[in-house]
């Protein structure tokens, strides 16, 4: 069998897009989560929490632009269908992202008496953006169903994702801070994990009823067997992380990055499960990745650039994270 580019290219791009979304969810997940946790933090703690994400958030959000960009350029048909169907949630997401993005900067530059206002806007924007993303995911899982049932399912996923982001945020605070705030973050992490677990249980129970198609994809022999590592591994990681939270923070700050990495792994497993649920559709039940794809010659020219540039991007992103490695200190323009 010779290698068939017109078949392979859409598949490669679906993979790239999935990768971009996964990286986005993990990276922007922690800074959105920190925004949500703002509501529970004191003034001085808020400054430290901002310092823990200040140099990164912009690059984190760029992964969303890349994901939407890939959807736009590789699957123009799907891009139109999905985004017109999700018109209002997308709008809510954008308002949330706009508010929190500018609040980052305004809170540091306005006269002191107005700082509180921007702190509140930062929290609200982060929460709105997280909920909107979860809602969109829920509705998308159900094939862009916007009936009452679909909306209820969307709301459920919205709360679940917001709780998961808060857990990511808490895990990042554990990694980037020390002392009282770090201990507080461990408590936040526990609360967020409980909420996430409740949400995930509800979503898992609701999915078979909400989408028989996905149910059928998972619960047939022998696929069930091949797929079983995904949920089992996730559950084990989850329980292990839960037990860890009782030992954190550890002496010499060992394993402070572990909660974050564990959560990232759980996100990745969940994401793989979602990908399996959709494949080969890019718009559930309507458009497959091949039906929605751009012309092969256009995909090829993007791929050529991506193959060269993506490793460079990942390299300098790591570099930027390393420059700002270690515990967060006051963020000043120097």
């Amino acid at each position: 069998m010779s290698f068939d580019w017109p078949t392979a290219l859409p598949l490669i791009f679906a993979g790239l897009m999935g990768l971009a979304i996964l990286i986005y969810v993990i990276l922007d997940g922690f800074d959105l989560g920190i925004g949500i946790l703002f509501a529970a933090a004191e003034d001085a703690e808020q400054d430290t929490m901002i310092a823990a994400i200040g140099p990164f958030w912009d690059a984190n959000e760029t992964w969303l632009v890349l994901a939407v960009g890939l959807l736009l350029v590789a699957f123009p048909m799907a891009h139109g269908v999905i985004l017109t169907a999700l018109y209002i949630p997308v709008f809510v997401l954008l308002v949330g992202l706009i508010l929190r993005g500018v609040a980052f900067d305004f809170r540091a530059k306005v006269p002191t008496e107005r700082k509180h206002r921007w702190n509140r806007i930062f929290f609200l924007g982060s929460l709105i953006a997280s909920l909107a993303q979860g809602y969109m995911l829920g509705v998308y899982v159900l094939g862009l169903d916007v009936g009452l049932g679909g909306m209820a399912f969307g709301v459920l996923v919205a709360f679940c994702l917001a709780a998961a982001y808060a857990a990511m945020g808490a895990a990042w605070v554990i990694y980037k801070t020390e002392g009282e705030l770090q201990k507080k973050a461990v408590r936040w992490l526990r609360t967020a994990l409980v909420l996430t677990a409740l949400g995930m249980a509800a979503v898992s129970l609701a999915t078979p009823f909400a989408s028989p198609r996905i149910f059928d994809k998972w619960f047939v022999w022998p696929e069930m067997l091949y797929l079983s590592p995904l949920p089992i591994l996730s559950a084990l990681l989850f329980l292990w992380l839960w037990r860890q939270t009782f030992h954190l923070p550890k002496p010499d700050d060992r394993h402070s990055l572990t909660p974050f990495l564990t959560l990232a792994a759980i996100f990745a497993l969940g994401f793989a499960g979602l990908a399996w649920s959709f494949y080969p559709f890019v718009v559930p039940d309507r458009l497959t990745i091949w039906q929605a794809a751009s012309a092969p010659e256009s995909l090829a020219i993007i791929l050529a650039g991506t193959v060269i540039v993506l490793p460079i991007i990942i390299f300098y992103s790591f570099y930027a994270y390393r420059v700002f490695g270690g515990k967060a200190t006051d963020l000043t323009y120097d």
């Binding site: 990164f56 890349l66 939407v68 985004l83 308002v95 306005v110 993007i302 650039g305 420059v323």
Partner: protein, 453 residues
């Protein structure tokens, strides 16, 4: 209401709000690099103070640009799905390359540029500034390439109603591309130089005579004085390019209803599209023929050659005049300010007071210019390929109206907050003068020495 006109208003509102901030960051990145290099060369801490004042403006503008830019990336799908379906094969790769080669570069090194002065060596910090400035410029390159392809498409063929790329070189360097990129980069330079000059004039008016104020003021005024004649020349070249490739746009810009020789240059008029004539016209005889054809008897295209296929006349005519009028004002102000700074080593108060509102003249001229060229492309979204009306999505008018209203309220509030912070930063810098604490040294192991210590 009609989803088409609402979607157009929404796109117009979003992109107008968005372009304000890249217009600042594209050139401000290079100005910051200039401050940094002057500091490296002279070791004069005033340069670094100017840098730290303006890097805050850069950070805020960049954040505003990012969040409004994310909105743009969704807009194509939410409101204009027909666009990507028809020309996605062309627009897609151009946008993808913008994200891959520019966005990530800017975003990753912005953190180091803003907060890394104490964490990396001076050389790396300068390099980060170069990469961020370069990233913004590369971003402008790709987006202008796409925009000018929509104006003057080339290098493609239509198969089954969908555009397919044939020659990427011809697509990127399409006939009007260089004539759009140059004025846009110059517009960014002018916007930033007037912004710096204007806010420095504000500091001057409050009695601030610090070295960092002088350095910023001189940088702003002299850059503006140098760039504005170049921009006028580039604008003239762009006009001639448009005459060749989009004559109907020229006809609308000049409000010229009938093709013919000896066409006057209309200075003021109220174009009436129903009656196909100009009301209250004030014109210079043969002016348009002279400018466009370099001869009084030169034939200038008229709107009568494009029945039902030309842009709306009123906004294009006036958008062009506002741009040119602002440009002339910029020339007068920057040259007189340059004169006073060179010869008198100070600014007369009235001139300084005029320079403060002129801080936003770059925004006005840039927006007027974009409105002229974008409305001037109508009724086409991609000239000769896709009409705007055929690209609009199936979203209900009420949804579009609701979101449009929210965006507008949000944008007005954010603009007020943004301008408030700019003034606040300028006044704070004026109050601190040369005594503002310079960042550096204190507590970090890898820290660089603060200047002058």
């Amino acid at each position: 209401m009609d989803p088409l006109i609402l979607s157009r208003m929404q796109f117009g509102a979003n992109i107008s709000f968005h372009i304000l901030f890249p217009t600042i960051t594209i050139a401000l990145g290079w100005v910051l690099l200039f401050f940094k290099l002057r500091y490296n060369a002279t070791n004069d801490s005033a340069w670094m103070r100017a840098y730290f004042t303006w890097v805050k403006v850069f950070a805020l503008s960049f954040a505003m640009g990012v969040v409004s830019g994310v909105t743009m990336s969704f807009q194509f799908g939410t409101n204009w799905p027909g666009y990507m379906e028809k020309v996605g094969n062309i627009a897609g790769p151009l946008l993808a390359y913008e994200i891959l080669t520019a966005f990530f570069l800017e975003a990753a090194f912005l953190g180091i540029m803003l907060f890394g002065f104490r964490r990396v060596s001076n050389r790396i910090h300068t390099l980060a500034t170069v990469l961020v400035a370069g990233g913004t410029t590369v971003s402008a390159f790709w987006i202008i390439a796409l925009n000018s392809w929509m104006q003057t498409p080339a290098g493609f063929e239509m198969r089954d109603g969908v555009a397919h790329a044939v020659d990427w070189w011809a697509i990127i360097f399409n006939p009007s591309m260089p004539y759009r990129l140059t004025p846009m980069l110059l517009a960014s330079g002018l916007t930033v130089s007037f912004l710096i000059a204007g806010l420095s004039a504000l500091r001057y008016l409050t009695g601030d005579r610090s070295e960092s104020m002088w350095k910023a003021l001189r940088t702003g005024v002299f850059t503006a004085a140098i760039l504005i004649p170049i921009q006028i020349f580039a604008g003239d070249q762009h006009g001639l390019n448009t005459l060749e490739h989009q004559p109907q746009k020229i006809a609308a810009m000049e409000a010229n209803w009938n093709t013919g020789p000896n066409v006057p240059l209309v200075l003021f008029a109220v174009p009436d599209e129903a009656a196909r004539e100009n009301k209250f016209e004030i014109a210079i005889p043969d002016g348009a023929s002279l400018i466009l054809r370099h001869s009084t008897s030169g034939v200038v295209p008229g709107l009568n050659d494009y029945p039902g296929n030309h842009p709306p006349v009123f906004p294009v005519f006036w958008g062009f005049r506002i741009m040119v009028g602002t440009g002339i004002l910029m020339l007068l102000v920057s040259w007189s300010a340059a004169f006073f700074l060179k010869r008198r080593h100070g600014l007369p108060k009235p001139l300084a007071m005029l320079m403060v509102p002129m801080a936003l003249s770059g925004w006005l001229a840039t927006l007027a210019g974009w409105y002229t060229t974008e409305i001037g492309r109508q009724p086409w979204l991609v000239t000769g390929v896709l009409k705007t009306a055929d690209a609009v999505g199936p979203v209900a008018g009420s949804h579009v109206a609701l979101t449009l209203a929210t965006y507008l309220v949000l944008y007005v509030l954010l603009l007020i907050a943004y301008l408030g912070v700019l003034v606040h930063l300028a006044l704070k810098a004026a109050k601190d003068g040369d005594s503002s604490p310079l960042p550096g040294v204190m507590n970090a192991a890898m820290s660089q020495p603060a200047a002058g210590e």
